[in-house]
């Protein structure tokens, strides 16, 4: 076996991946926030009575979900400047966030839409019978329940996005995987480096898993039996 344990432990316990990990964290935080906002708008429109806008959203979801994230990243970083003759030329971080956020918005639109439609029909009828407006019904009755339904799948999206940030190595963002490739392309210790890279992703993904649990617990209000509190 060809495993350099000393090198592995040194790299794992070194500070080399701290900054790359931080880049992953804040890029996910920003992209996810924008993605959730896009998804909320898209999901609400999809369940509303606004006909033409629905087609626009449906097109957006079909388009984005059909294109690999890596292709979208390169599109925003290289494709857009090429198309506009350099007039629009987003720096790597901006291109990366646009790509991840717009990709996320499509998935979040579906999650928000199915969350809203999963709220029992009786809730809408009770609201109508109480003379609540569409706005009050959404804000006070439907969305709070839809959010609770949407939280677990949204958590999965966060974890997916943490791993998808590795694709940003293609546009020279010094995130975790890019840092790893820089190391093993010099010293060729592929296995040890990849193992350390993998461990960092595991830490981030499962660290987020703990936050997710806390969020779910907070939103379990009124549903004691369902979540076993």
């Amino acid at each position: 076996m060809n495993f350099d344990a000393d090198y592995f432990w040194n790299l794992l316990l070194s500070t080399r991946f701290l900054h790359p990990a931080w880049i992953v964290v804040w890029m996910v935080a920003v992209s996810m926030t924008i993605g959730i906002a896009l998804g909320a708008i898209g999901g609400i429109i999809m369940t509303s009575a606004i006909g033409p806008l629905k087609h626009v959203i449906r097109g957006y979801v079909a388009l984005i979900r059909g294109i690999p994230v890596l292709v979208q990243i390169i599109f925003w970083y290289n494709g857009v400047p090429a198309l506009t003759g350099g007039a629009i030329n987003p720096p790597p971080f901006v291109a990366g966030i646009i790509a991840l956020a717009i990709n996320e918005g499509a998935y979040m639109t579906e999650i928000v839409r199915s969350g809203i439609t999963a709220v029992e029909r009786g809730q809408r009828e009770a609201s109508q019978a109480l003379s609540l407006s569409y706005y009050s019904t959404m804000r006070r009755v439907i969305l709070p329940q839809a959010i609770r339904i949407a939280i677990p799948p949204t958590g999965n999206q966060v974890i997916n996005m943490i791993k998808n940030t590795s694709l940003l190595f293609a546009i020279a963002i010094p995130e975790i995987f890019a840092t790893g490739t820089n190391i093993f392309s010099v010293n060729f210790r592929y296995f040890e480096v990849i193992a350390v890279v993998a461990i960092w992703y595991i830490i981030l993904a499962n660290g987020y898993g703990l936050i997710q649990k806390a969020i779910e617990r907070r939103f379990a209000r009124g549903r004691g039996s369902l979540f076993g509190t």
């Binding site: 009828e125 109508q128 109480l130 003379s131 009755v141 329940q145 209000r221 004691g224």
Partner: protein
Amino acid sequence: MNQALSTSTASKADVTASYGDPVIEIRDVQKWFGSHHALKDISMTVRRGEKVVVCGPSGSGKSTLIRCINGLERHQGGTIEIEGVELVDRSLRGIRREVGMVFQSFNLFPHLTILENCMLAPMESRKLIRKEASERAMEYLSRVRIGEQAKKYPSQLSGGQQQRAAIARALCMEPHIMLFDEPTSALDPEMISEVLDTMTELAASGMTMVCVTHEMGFAERIADRVVFMDDGRIAEEGPPAELFRQPKTERLSSFLQRILTH
């Protein structure tokens, strides 16, 4: 079976005549679900303070009828007037402020406490401030005898308590008319009477009520008039004593046989 129906309501017919102005006027209403004709030429008047019980076999259109009264289903022919206002898109929200509804499945808001359930609509559609809404909610919650449950969530209450909370929630809008769609049929037998008691008290307070129910003892006690629906039509109507003891149609007598012997 006569025992269940034995409480006397001999003078109900005279009482009906003394009721006030018509508050629900339904004229020749039609409702289709696709090609299915669910309501056929329904006409009916309910006066202020009157209590009408609607019964009939499954699928006869009882729910559809009372859901048309507050516009949860939109009728397609004829007219519905509530307190003199015709029910159309524009008048819908105004009418719903005056017409409370209680559902078979309670439909409480699970993410809000019982108190918040009762405060929401008065604050959002009647523009009450929080303090007024909470005082009013507590008043009605104690009237339905669940004041001490106010801080709990619906899932922490029994079915009977949930339905009484739903009644309190509707009453907090201080409606002029209350609609009930089989309010006790999702309840365990031992909880039915507590909900019926609440409804009986509400009836005694002078509320105008239209109630779909198969609780015939309750109907006999509170109803001025029973409407028997069959296949989308009003097949028979009259004071409960008359209707239950001398059904004119074969459909009604076999319906009564079925529900009283089951």
